[in-house]
Amino acid sequence: MKEPDPSRYVLRLFVTGQSVLSNRAIVNIRKICEENLAGRYELEVVDVSKHPEIAVAEQIVAAPTLIKQLPEPLRRFIGDMSQTERILVGLDVKKAGT
């Protein structure tokens, strides 16, 4: 394992097939990452309809779900990732209220 870099983000987005919500979430999160975390993030998109066992393992109920694995602590976001402000605050990219 590499030394964890506190500024480095590992994100996983779980979507369910080619739904409107899935597509919207993928587009939205990519945009957020590119605009705020360019060069220091990994984003994996997992289609749990193709890998249901992952949905069980990762406790996916609502979809889409974004899991921030690094940096710690682990955080979850559900929705189509349209509320950019909330995501940025949640990812600790932005302080709340600023």
Partner: protein
């Protein structure tokens, strides 16, 4: 997906086409629902915390997987798989094994509001995918969602959630799985979040009430679309072998009536009952105050059954099994060999251990397992402590009906309160007497400084029975009935009876003796008379002899005189006789 109709063996379904049903395999529930839950449709089970929702759901699944070849999926929202597995292991459900055999899939859906953030629109497709995956992995026919309402506390957007739940129920129907959804009881509605509005097919309400410090669980089928079902509240129990609902047997009054008679084990009591005892399958009430011998009669009844090679169950609520065996031995009833042979089971428990319903469910359970010919409950009154009568009556009726349906002869003892002579015995019988086919009344009669037991057949339906009160005696050789003595309008028992018997015997002896004396007197008188007759006869004979002698003498003298006269005449006539007698001159 094909819904399998499995009707319970005992279900008395009317001859109309009803919905296909999925048998739960849960004792009693299939009878109430006349075959099980609606197959291929969702059923809602609701009730307060700790009322047994999860148990019901789980047993539905396990029995489906093991008995009806319908694999199942258990989606849990509150416990995790390890906790659930541990919890139900004590009931004999091995979820690990069933999971390995691919008969059951357990999935714990964990949702914690503090762990996530809402960032726009979402759906619950993740849950659908997991559910679909679980169903497909084992070909499940049954699904349990326990407790779906956890989603409401987990997900803040209830508008989305409600839309998704509606979709979920439709989806479950489309998949054709028989689903069971549990829901927490709400304050003014069936479930806290109104799940009942999504599930229209079948709603089962569980309830857990504490009354007089005794808790009772009850089940009610609130709604069952398109099928007849029992509407009442039925007590249920989560026992050693899982869920058990006291079933509905009182809907019908069509049990088979046997003509066979069963001895009471007391020959003289049989005699009072037309010489043959009770009908098989009848219910017998033995009532009396403390110490009148109720337990002894029921123990003897049980022993007699075992001696005939029948199976017997004795429910004791006053003494432990050991104590009963010991005490009954003192009156010549030995139960131990039958216990050892497995013909007799004694179940002793404290009446306060459960509510009446729970006891009845337990009895029901044991009866179904043991298949006895004879059941004794000693005493039934202990179960009904602190209870209002109408409820007791209804519950007892279910038990009695059940026993009748199984053609089991049942004897119930009942402790009457108060002095036997001050209260009418009819008043103190929790209204159960009308349910009974026969009623033996035991009473203590106090007279002359002692109490004695009497027995009387108050009623015996369909059996000619004696109207006599008998004394009932317990000896070390067993139970015996003795004819009582009636003396000056009083029934005599015990030593009074014995002394009366003695007096009667003495009087009889005396009469016998005086008669004999008279006979002897007559005999001797006759002898005296005969002697006198003999004497008189002898006298008569003497006189006769005398008379004959006198007559002969006279005859002789006359002859002699004649002769001498002839001689004299001859002499006078010239013939001189040699002797001349001067005497002859005259």
């Amino acid at each position: 997906m094909k819904a399998k109709k499995v009707s319970s063996p005992k279900a008395v379904a009317p001859k109309v086409v009803t919905l296909p049903k999925a048998a739960t395999g849960i004792q009693g529930l299939d009878e109430i629902t006349q075959g099980g839950l609606p197959a291929g449709r969702p059923t809602l089970v609701c009730g307060g915390a700790g009322c047994g929702k999860t148990m019901l759901a789980l047993e539905f699944l396990v029995r489906g997987a093991t008995q009806f070849d319908e694999p199942g999926v258990f989606i849990m929202f509150e416990e995790n798989a390890a906790e659930l597995t541990a919890n139900v292991r004590s009931l004999g459900f091995d979820l690990d094994k069933l999971s390995k055999q691919k008969k059951i899939v357990l999935d714990h859906v964990h949702i914690d509001r503090s762990e996530f953030e809402e960032t726009g629109e979402y759906d619950l497709q993740g849950l659908f995918i997991r559910l679909g995956h679980a169903i497909d992995s084992i070909g499940a026919k049954r699904v349990v969602l326990d407790t779906l309402e956890a989603l409401f506390s987990g997900l803040p957007n209830h508008a989305i959630l409600r839309a998704e739940l509606r979709r979920l129920f439709r989806w479950l129907k489309d998949r054709g799985v028989t689903a069971l959804i549990t829901g927490e009881k709400g304050e003014s509605s069936l479930t806290r979040h109104g799940l009942e509005e999504y599930v229209a097919d079948c709603v089962i309400v569980l309830d857990h009430r504490v009354q007089g410090q005794i808790s009772t669980r009850r089940l009610r089928v609130l709604k069952y679309r398109g099928t007849a079902h029992g509407m009442n509240e039925y007590p249920f129990l989560i026992g050693e072998r899982g869920f058990s609902v006291l079933p509905i047997t009182s809907l019908q009054l069509d049990h088979f009536a046997s003509r066979e008679r069963v001895s009471t084990g007391i020959p003289k009591l049989d005699e009072m009952l037309g010489g043959k005892g009770f009908f098989r399958g009848s219910s017998i009430l033995v009532s009396g105050t403390a110490g009148t011998g109720k337990s002894s009669i029921s123990a003897r009844f049980v022993e007699a059954a075992c001696q005939r090679g029948e199976r017997a169950l004795l429910f004791a609520y006053e003494e432990s099994a050991e104590q009963i065996v010991r005490n009954m031995r003192s009156i010549g009833i030995d139960l131990e060999p039958w216990v050892k042979k497995g013909l007799l089971e004694i179940h002793a428990s404290r009446p306060t251990l459960h509510g009446l319903e729970q006891h009845l469910v337990l009895m029901h359970d044991m009866v179904q397992r043991f298949h006895p010919d004879v059941v004794a409950v000693d005493p039934i009154t202990n179960l009904t402590l602190d209870r209002d009568d109408s409820e007791v009556r209804a519950t007892l009726m279910r038990l009695i009906d059940f026993l009748k349906q199984e053609n089991i002869t049942a004897i119930f003892t009942s402790l009457t309160t108060g002095g036997a002579s001050t209260t009418a015995p009819e008043d103190s019988q929790v209204g159960v007497s009308s349910l009974m086919d026969a009623w033996l009344l035991l009473r203590n009669v106090e007279y002359n400084g002692e109490r004695n037991r009497t027995i009387y057949t108050l009623k015996a339906r369909g059996i000619p029975h004696s109207n006599q009160v008998r004394e009932f005696v317990l000896t070390d050789k067993g139970i015996d009935l003795v004819e009582v003595y009636v003396d000056e309008d009083r029934v005599l028992t015990g030593s009074a009876r014995i002394s009366q018997q003695e007096r009667a015997r003495a009087a009889l002896d005396l009469a016998k003796q005086s008669q004999q004396r008279k006979e002897r007197q007559i005999a001797s008188k006759r002898k005296a008379i005969q002697t006198q007759i003999a004497i008189l006869q002898a006298e008569a004979e003497d006189e006769e002899t005398e008379l004959k002698f006198t007559i002969a003498q006279e005859l002789l003298r006359q002859q002699t005189a004649q002769k001498s006269a002839q001689t004299q005449a001859a002499l006078r006539g010239g013939v001189i006789t040699k002797s001349s007698k001067p005497a002859a001159k005259s």
